[in-house]
Amino acid sequence: MASTHNSIRQMVSPLLRRFQSLSLHAQNTSKPSLRPFSTSPTLLAKPERKRTGDPRVTLIRYHLQHPATPRPLKFSRMRALRHWTIHRAWQLFRRKKLGAEELELQRMYQSMHETMEVLRTMDAPGTKDAGRLYRVALEKKGIFGKGGVPVEYARLQTDTPGKEAWDHSWTR
């Protein structure tokens, strides 16, 4: 604590110091009858400093405003503008790429959908093999691993969650 006090005193501007000395002089002249006990000049006496505010705040402000504390890093105006330009371009580029990917996926889905439609309506109804290719194409045999079952079949698919989320009492 003492070291910080010293450094704070170093920080005090000369103007303030002069003001303090002036005020000290004024005090001395107002009370001439009181002879000082010590012979050392009163100027060297430690001035009483008033403590104001929260010492933590004082310390924080002292350190933040100290010239040795580096200023916050900041782009210059033109550099910030260049940064902004690059940022906007990057966002635009990414958005366009994502949009293109989305479109490609849509196109693929539509194409599959059309193919299935063609398969479904290829044969006239009533013939023996009507819709056979369609059925074969929709088979999911083997795609969920060997002897696996698609996860959709594990539970009946519903539009909304059930009234009871999980039946804990169920046992086999």
């Binding site: 503008l81 260049r82 902004w84 330009t85 690059i86 906007r88 371009a89 635009l92 580029f93």
Partner: protein
């Protein structure tokens, strides 16, 4: 030109010449410090034309800066920046040789080209739709109108999207040099206003209950800045009556294109009525048919002509003892091409008991902006009232003491048990 500047002129010339010649013969020190004859002659010829000796963009030495500041011009930016500008060749921003930046610009320019194509296409579509007969459109005239409006909206959107990624436009807007006739600058200004200033004014409207008291509903769409002489007024601020003695200056920024006519109304919504034990309203200023556009923003209320003026400025005054008065300055947009009959208004609209609702309904106006300030009795009010011939400066309003009908109840419960001074520390 100031005397000291005149005096400093020869010195400036010396310095400039020595700078210009650099490391030449002139660096030889001379015996006398006074300038030579031929130099003086040169000074004479130069002093005829008032050239700016120092460029505020490139002064670097402390001396030069001081001299520049004496002439009233302040150096721009930091000394480091100025030195950099001085030594570098002045490349325009868009040609700065940074690879990533240039690539980014290429992408943005390509996007802009695309957007311009889209704009042209949309314009063509709109003109095609305008040319078609509504009978052939599925949905008729109404559908045609709907489609046209939505297409126009999309066109405006595209116009903004074409320019929104331009760094120079951003810079120009931040410097306040944007041309408000262009949609992009209006869009940026609107966005900036909505970020902070509009929120404040909306909050004041709610806090000071302007909305149910003066108008049934109101969404501000134009920025209104209010000032008395040089005193800027923050929304809802208390203003000294001596300050508001003169008519207010308004700066109204609208964010949609085109010229329109506006009506300005200043209304006090807290005028006490003693007989009825209630409050009423009073119109303090009313002027109509004032032209306003995105580029013409300044509206000093004192400048209204006799044809525009209905009720001249009545200085705000709040009598002693009355609670604070809310003064709202309304900017009301008139329907396009419609003017308000001020002669009729002068006859039929009384300032006392002025009703904003009926006024807006009667003349078919749309409120677009509002400025609010408050006023309360202060030491200058009596003088203001006397100067403007307003009576009632000697009246002081006082609250009527209402005697309770029920007798005061004795303390019960906890209060009664802790009534003695023994529990003084527990009491609040």
């Amino acid at each position: 030109m100031s005397a000291c500047q005149k005096a400093a002129r020869p010195l400036t010339q010396c310095l400039r010449q020595s700078q210009a010649s650099g490391q030449s013969v002139r660096t030889i020190r001379m015996f006398t410090s006074s300038s030579r004859l031929n130099e003086e002659a040169a000074v004479e010829t130069v002093s005829f034309k008032p050239t700016l000796v120092l460029n505020p963009e490139t002064v670097t030495s402390r001396k030069e800066e001081k001299k520049l500041m004496k002439t009233g011009v302040f150096p721009i930016g930091s000394r480091r920046r100025r030195a950099a500008i001085k030594t570098s060749d002045n490349i325009p921003f868009e040609q700065l040789p940074y690879q990533c930046f240039q690539e980014a610009r290429k992408i943005l320019q390509a996007d802009r080209e695309e957007k311009l194509e889209l704009i042209a296409k949309e314009r063509l579509r709109i003109s095609n739709l305008m040319a078609t007969d509504p009978a052939t459109i599925n949905g008729g005239e109404r559908m045609k109108k709907t489609r046209l409006s939505s297409m126009n909206r999309h066109l405006e959107y595209l116009k903004i999207q074409a320019d929104i990624n331009d760094p120079l436009i951003k810079k120009r807007f931040e410097d306040g040099q944007g041309d408000m006739n262009k949609p992009i600058y209006r869009y940026l200004a609107d966005r900036k206003w909505r970020e902070y200033q509009r929120k404040i004014i909306v909050q004041r409207i709610e806090q000071l209950a302007i909305v149910p008291d003066v108008l049934p509903f109101f969404e501000p769409t134009a920025e209104v800045r209010l000032a008395f002489r040089t005193r800027n007024v923050q929304p809802g601020e208390f203003i000294d009556s001596r300050v508001s003695e003169v008519p207010a200056r308004l700066k109204v920024q609208v964010f949609d294109k085109g010229e329109r006519l506006v009506t300005i109304v200043v209304i006090d919504s807290d005028v006490p009525v003693v007989d009825k034990d209630a409050f009423t309203t009073r119109c303090h200023y009313l002027a109509a048919n004032i032209p306003l556009s995105p580029t013409e923003t300044s509206l000093p209320l004192s400048r209204a002509t006799q044809e525009q003026l209905v009720h001249p400025w009545l200085p705000p005054f709040a009598q002693k003892g009355s609670p604070y008065h809310r003064y709202s300055v309304f900017v009301l947009q008139q329907k396009p091409g419609k003017t308000l009959d001020t002669a009729y208004a002068k006859e039929h609209i009384q300032p006392d008991g002025f009703s904003m609702r009926s006024f807006v309904d009667k003349f078919n106006l749309t409120p677009i902006g509002i400025g609010i300030f408050r006023s309360i009795w202060d030491e200058g009010t009596a003088g203001v009232m006397q100067r403007h011939g307003i009576e009632g400066a000697d009246i002081e309003f006082k609250r009527k003491k209402v005697v309770a009908l029920k007798p005061k109840q004795k303390a019960r419960g906890w209060e009664a048990r802790h009534a003695s001074d023994k529990y003084k520390s527990l009491r609040r």
